[in-house]
Symmetry: C2
């Protein structure tokens, strides 16, 4: 025994056929059925031997002894990297996507929400989208607006077009002088500076320098720091969550999966990483165990040539990669283009 197994061309063809058949039907695929799907004629026994080899090599596995074969994570990976032929985009689909996505009023949040919806419907998966990153955003404007005697809204607008606000309560009455003082401090210390600089340390020294007004002003600066943090942590939108119910193979884990998706934080991390144009994580390739039965396709978008955010889908491992990857690229490209136009600085 202990022979060496090489990946031959025939094995590749068989692997591709298994993957594609499984993606299409969701049923483990057996040697007989596979005969009809190959562009060369061999007996089922031959295919069986090849499949046994592929299983030994780690590309296929059997749910149980007498069932057909199913691709492993490794099998999908090999298929995607070496075997898959990306499908062309359907002209009509492109048009309708473009129409839907660009129908908004120019509001980035609305745009990404729409894009998420489109993707979710198109792919029958859950879609996640991130708002344009605020990493390098600067403060464009910061002010307080009183809403009652002791409560004011703190408003922060960034150069990335993100606007965050928050009510804040003070122990002392809010006078027009308070408002003006806050405005002046912001204008001189924050406007035009990166959001990151509004940290608690910075604030402490600042508040200290305010002397007699320190007590009065400090809650507002604390709130402002909160807002800056908010604006920095890019928002994640989730659409079409319930599409996941349509995929039986996710089984009872759908609930855990949805619970996982509900928390925005890991999602943000999920979508953040990766340097490629399109990131694909299959099953156990995902760092989060809740995603062990899912695949994730993430496609980034650029604003003014700079990586700014991403769109992604989450579904069963059995995704139609050949079709969906080009779609994701198309939509993210579109989003990037629209946002570049919208937020263009000059």
């Amino acid at each position: 025994m202990n022979r060496v197994l090489n990946m031959t061309e025939r094995k590749q063809k068989i692997l591709a056929a298994v993957v594609e058949s499984y993606i299409r039907t969701g049923e483990p695929v057996g040697s007989k059925n596979l005969m009809g799907e190959l562009d060369f004629s061999v007996s089922s026994a031959t295919i069986r031997n090849e499949m046994a080899d592929l299983a030994e090599m780690g590309y296929l596995e059997q749910p149980h002894t007498s069932a057909g074969r199913v691709p492993t994570t490794l099998g999908y990976r090999y298929y995607i990297d070496k075997l898959m032929n990306k499908m062309e985009l359907n002209e009509a689909d492109c048009k309708s996507i473009t129409k839907t996505v660009s129908s908004g009023s120019g509001d980035p949040e609305q745009l990404l929400e729409k894009a998420g919806e489109v993707i979710a419907n198109l792919t029958n998966c859950a879609a996640i989208t991130t708002m344009p990153a605020g990493d390098k955003a600067t403060v464009r404007r910061a002010e307080i607006v009183p809403v009652s005697n002791r409560t004011a809204m703190i408003v922060l607008l960034t150069s990335a077009g993100t606007l965050k606000s928050k009510a804040c309560r003070s122990d002392m009455p809010i006078t027009p002088q308070t408002v003006e003082r806050f405005y002046n401090v912001c204008a001189s210390h924050f406007v035009g500076r990166p959001l990151e600089e509004i940290g608690t340390v910075m604030l402490q020294t600042l508040v200290a320098s305010l002397g007699e007004h320190a007590l009065e002003m400090s809650p507002f600066f604390v709130a402002l720091a909160d807002l800056a943090n908010d604006a920095l942590s890019s928002d994640v939108l989730l659409e079409g969550q319930s599409n996941l119910f349509n995929h039986r193979e996710l089984g009872g884990n759908v609930i855990e999966l949805m619970e996982f998706l509900r928390k925005g934080d890991p999602l943000a991390k999920l979508i953040a990483g990766g340097t490629d144009d399109v990131d694909i994580k299959i099953g156990t390739e995902n760092k989060y165990k809740q995603l062990a039965n899912s695949s994730v396709i993430i496609s980034h978008y650029d604003i003014n040539g700079e990586r700014s955010g991403a769109l992604g889908i989450i579904g069963p491992t059995r995704l139609n990669y050949a079709k969906l990857i080009p779609y994701m690229q198309f939509v993210s490209g579109l989003v990037g283009k629209i946002l570049t136009e919208t937020l263009d600085e000059q």
Copy 2:
């Protein structure tokens, strides 16, 4: 035959015992089991007769011929209106609720989110909360802030402390004059006036009067009208949706139910109606067919003595009404108190 069936005291006791037992266990309750739960001794046969009567009267029903009895909508209703003894609030719970809910920074949205979470955890149901109604809110401030050459944020702050914003794109460059002009128009026409007045009709006449600037300004006013509408339609927050999975009796309908909850609109209507302090809708009493197997408990909160919003839970009909109703009242009372303090005008 055709005898008249009267509700006797014994029947009431039996009905209450059935309802309470079913709420506790989720199993149809049979005559023998019920014997142990009554404060008087009769044979199971007697109970059987009484239960048959209650079934004929419409308060109980059988899932199938040889199963125990389950309360009908009518049965629950009778129990809640006439038989139920509200449970006292647990001192420790109150404290921890108060602590959690009031731990925020004074932001109403954050407050209601926290309150929703608390309720969801406490009741193991989905919780809905509405932001304070903007019905009578007036415009406190409206302005545009440029974020790029042709894009600006429209910002609207209402007297109710709601702040809405939206990006808006113009076909012409946005100049400081544009900003000032917008500000002036808003100051003279909108500030201090009810939100409702910013309708499209009003806008049309206004834009017409702008003469040469009409084209330049109109997209902003349209966006402003959008924002006003947004601010008027009270936002609904949903928490603990996934708790619904824990209730097996909701069966396969959980998915439809969640899908229904995802759309905010019917939720808003659901929570809006009702004049009582606490509204309870049991199963088919709900107007929406998706809620036919669910119960809804809604408790309103007042700000400055005026009905302003509500907190609600959605769960199976088999809710522990005696315990949850007081809890809902407590939390909504608390929310009202905190918001009154926060938004107090004087």
